[in-house]
């Protein structure tokens, strides 16, 4: 445990020191991962399905505010869907516009969750999102997570029905339009997942706030269990064919991941180095405020020195040696005695 705490403090130290480089690198990696996943899942427009485009977009996003990543991702999705069918792109545009007009202006910080939710679904760790948002978010995060789930299921529905879109008559634009809207509104699995994620977030949030020991751990475990129960009940009631084995496996994996995140990220104040400038009548101040680390890093190695116990074998040897010496001396004395007696005779 001590080692983990030290690693955490070292990470904290590294982050506060090199935050100016780490944040853009993280943004770059996130954009790269998101756009690569979008390209691999959709990839209908060959022009933007290229490594160099993804690389340039990621580099640009790494120096811009994080909300720009969402706009770029939305643009990539819309372009791919436009290449597939204009009606499908129109429905996606409507969904994105509604999310933007009605919700994101309230909480622009939460909008990253809408990006992370489909991303975690793509990485097969969807339950990390409700558990994490229950810990670090507020009950309002339910809406962001629900929006993310809607975006994921919209994209999944489209990718699963590409052949159906191709088979439809090119003149029947309305048919494609209706097909996508029906696909979203009648998606029972999506409704169950939204309900389970909502309850999971609320359970984690409420338990986390209780003043009991290990409330965070209890909250995460209870949230994961609530999530599993609701998904199972929903599957039984609405027959959505959710793979139970996979769900349990993902839940356990997500639980482990959230526990690590909780220890390394959520519970730690990653205060950053502040670079501020101000002036008074006499001076210009260029201040770099570096946060103090609470636990000192242990770079020392502890050497344990034990006094060696007396070995019984060696004692025996010593005794034998002493006896031998004594016997030797006696023998010499006897020999000398005898030689003296001999000379006297």
């Amino acid at each position: 445990m001590k080692t983990l705490l030290v690693i955490r403090e070292q990470l904290k130290g590294i982050y506060s020191k090199y935050d100016i480089y780490i944040t853009p690198v993280l943004k770059f990696l996130m954009t790269m991962l998101t756009l690569s996943l979008i390209n691999s899942k959709l990839g209908y427009m060959a022009r933007i399905d290229k490594g160099i485009i993804v690389l340039v977009a990621s580099l640009v996003c790494s120096i811009l505010p994080s909300n720009i990543i969402i706009l770029v991702a939305a643009l990539f999705i819309l372009l791919h869907l436009y290449a597939l069918a204009i009606e499908v792109a129109a429905v996606a545009l409507v969904v994105f516009l509604l999310l933007f007009l009605l919700y994101f202006r309230f909480s622009p910080k939460d909008s990253l969750v809408v990006l992370l939710t489909p991303l975690c679904f793509g990485l097969q760790i969807p339950y990390v999102i409700p558990l994490s948002m229950g810990i670090i978010g507020t009950p309002m995060s339910v809406i962001s997570v629900a929006c993310g789930v809607i975006v994921h299921y919209l994209l999944t529905f489209i990718t699963d029905n590409v052949q159906a879109f191709d088979a439809m008559d090119t003149d029947s634009e309305l048919q494609k339009f209706r097909y996508v809207i029906d696909g979203i509104l009648d998606n029972k699995a999506m409704m169950i997942v939204i309900a389970s994620f909502t309850i999971c977030i609320l359970v984690v949030y409420m338990i986390k706030r209780l003043s009991v020991d290990y409330s965070w751990t209890i909250a995460v475990v209870a949230g994961a269990l609530a999530n599993i129960v609701i998904l199972l009940v929903g599957d039984l009631a609405l027959d959505t064919n959710i793979s139970i084995g996979l769900m349990l496996l993902q839940s356990v994996f997500s639980l482990c991941l959230v526990t690590i995140l909780q220890f390394m990220v959520f519970n730690v104040d990653y205060t950053r180095t502040e670079m501020v400038q101000f002036e008074d009548d006499e001076y210009y101040y260029y201040v770099k405020a570096v946060p103090k680390n609470i636990v000192s890093k242990t770079d020392k190695t502890i050497k344990r020195i034990n006094t060696p116990k007396r070995n019984p074998v060696s004692t025996d040897k010593e005794q034998v040696h002493r006896e031998a010496v004594k016997a030797g001396t006696d023998a010499i004395r006897n020999a000398e005695k005898r030689s003296l007696e001999f000379t006297e005779i």
């Binding site: 429905v91 409507v94 516009l97 509604l98 007009l101 009605l102 202006r105 309230f106 309305l174 339009f177 209706r178 809207i181 502040e274 501020v276 400038q277 101000f278 008074d280 009548d281 006499e282 001076y283 101040y285 201040v287 405020a289």
Partner: protein, 134 residues
């Protein structure tokens, strides 16, 4: 001579100004009623846009049926129904906006109060040092 206490205070204040301060100061420059009123007007505009997008999707979904029915249906009743839906949805959205921005205004004012308190403290420190230029 540099005063350490004063520099720490100034650094904290500069850091606040750079982060939450920017937003809070713009909120603090309004009267409560003006700020909340402006947000509600914005909310009405956004809700109106969203409502008409949903209405367009609704009409487009069954466009053929809608076009054949348009000659038979009571347009006045239809418009009335749409208006009722519009008023209800915009009112709910406006109410949510009102509640949310009331809380945000109170929070911003509270933080600004601390900031102005620090300004006063800073001013006292300058007075104590006798560096105030009159």
């Amino acid at each position: 001579m540099l005063n350490e206490e004063r520099i720490i205070l100034m650094t904290r204040m500069a850091s606040f100004e750079e982060h939450e301060g920017k937003k809070n100061m713009s909120i603090g420059s309004y009267f409560r009623s003006d700020f909340i009123g402006l947000q509600i007007i914005k909310a009405i505009i956004y809700a109106t846009l969203a409502f008409f997008i949903v209405l367009a999707v609704y009409i487009f979904y069954d466009f053929e049926v809608f076009m054949t029915d348009i000659y038979h249906m009571d347009l006045f009743a239809f418009a009335k129904q749409v208006l009722v839906y519009y008023i209800v949805s915009v009112s709910i959205y406006g109410l949510i906006t009102y509640l949310l921005y009331t809380v945000r205004y109170a929070k911003a004012k509270k933080q600004l109060k601390v900031y102005y308190g620090n300004l006063k403290r800073l001013s006292n420190l300058y007075d104590k040092e006798g560096k105030r230029q009159v």
